[in-house]
């Protein structure tokens, strides 16, 4: 990589493009961890700001994982202070496309169960599972962003599904 790659993110236009393609995912990622929208907003802001300030040190290939590392560290600092319990009942909404009344009722009940079950998942399982389902990220991409192996992602997703089923059956 040459110098141009490194200073690329300092340029406002380049930074803006990087922000537009990664901020929603980062926002979701923090949200999956804690279910707190305000905290997600704050961390996205702080993380990108820190990213921009350190733009000169950033290598293009590592940019996204660097961003996620900053955000994760910020989250660990902030979240330990805030002590908010993660509850996704009111924050994870559902996009209903098939709106027949009977269907709706059943769907609504099931979604309530689902969000409940999602809330009870471990932070790691929930994050990996939702990044896959909601953000449509591949295992490999999730692994890169979180700085873990693809095997670890598979394990988290497998256990997430397993736990979600058990939780829903128990209700």
């Amino acid at each position: 990589m040459n110098i141009k790659d490194k200073i690329g993110f300092c340029d406002e236009e380049n930074f803006s493009n990087f922000f537009r393609s990664n901020s929603k995912l980062l926002h979701n990622y923090i949200f999956y961890k804690c279910g707190n929208i305000e905290l997600a907003n704050d961390i996205v802001q702080d993380a990108f700001l820190k990213f921009w300030i350190n733009c000169e040190k950033i290598i293009t290939e590592k940019a996204t994982s660097y961003l996620f590392t900053i955000a994760t560290n910020l989250f660990l600092n902030e979240y330990s202070k805030s002590k908010t319990s993660s509850n996704f009942k009111n924050t994870l909404s559902v996009n209903y496309t098939n709106e027949t009344p009977e269907f709706l009722l059943e769907e609504k009940q099931f979604h309530a169960k689902l969000t409940n079950a999602i809330s009870s998942l471990s932070e790691a399982q929930r994050t990996a599972f939702l990044m896959h389902r909601i953000d449509g990220k591949k295992y490999k991409e999730i692994a890169e962003n979180l700085g873990i192996s693809v095997k670890a992602v598979e394990k988290r997703i497998h256990n997430a599904l397993l736990n979600l089923r058990k939780e829903i059956e128990n209700i």
Partner: protein, 298 residues
Amino acid sequence: MEEKYFLAKWLNNEITEEELKKHVSEEEIRLYKKIISASDMLETPEFDLEEALSEIKKLHEKTNVKKLTTIKYFYKVAAVLALIVTSYYFISNKNTNYTTQLAEKISFELPDNSSVNLNADSEIKFKPNKWENKRELHLKGEAFFSVKKGSKFTVKTNLGDVSVLGTKFNVVARDHFFEVFCYEGVVSATYQNKTIKIPAGTSFKALNSSSAFNPSIEEKIPSWLQNKSSFKSLPFKYVIKEFERQYNIKITYDKEFDTILFTGNFTHKGLEIALQAISVPLNLNYTIINEGNVSLHP
């Protein structure tokens, strides 16, 4: 090989439903499918991307401004310090300069009351602050010094240095011509790394590579202080240059006369008499072309 994370593999289409059935019941698969399709309908809270971006840009600008002001502040401090240091340096090392124009002579006193007469087109530079510790000055051109007794007094020139303890002497350092006249006491001159003692009533003259002592000076002060320029066996070129300096004119003449040795003098008080004084001995005539130009010709 037994697949540990079969659910993840199935979700990623890496194993078929048939393969999955080895691990889980059909009932469970049905529920998994429901969970997956319901999950896919989930939506995360809205995130106003552009607003967040503009907020970050604002914050970034502030941090940049902060950085900039720190840098500016640093430069301000640095600039002030630099100013203090340099001004101290200049004050303590400040040179006093005396210069004369063409056709101008001046006299002045040094901090120790030694007097200096400066001939035309000459310059003297010294540091008054350091004068008490070091009587030293730089000379370009010609000057007559009447030095009060005291510590070593040094005249530095591009051609050589002249040191005395207290005496009257004249120094010329022009182009390649170096001459020291001693009128009183003893003068020591350093020329081409050799130190020469010049007693009263003698002079030392060096022109290019040749140097010579000339004994017996009758006058008590240099002729130029009596408003005339005297020469003894000096190439005509230097006589012309001195003439041009004294009268602020330009003389055109045949360059073949440059090396002719001239002995004699010219006055500083009248151009025509002076021109006669330098032209007649060489069988030349002169023509005053205009105010600033004279030509010498056969």
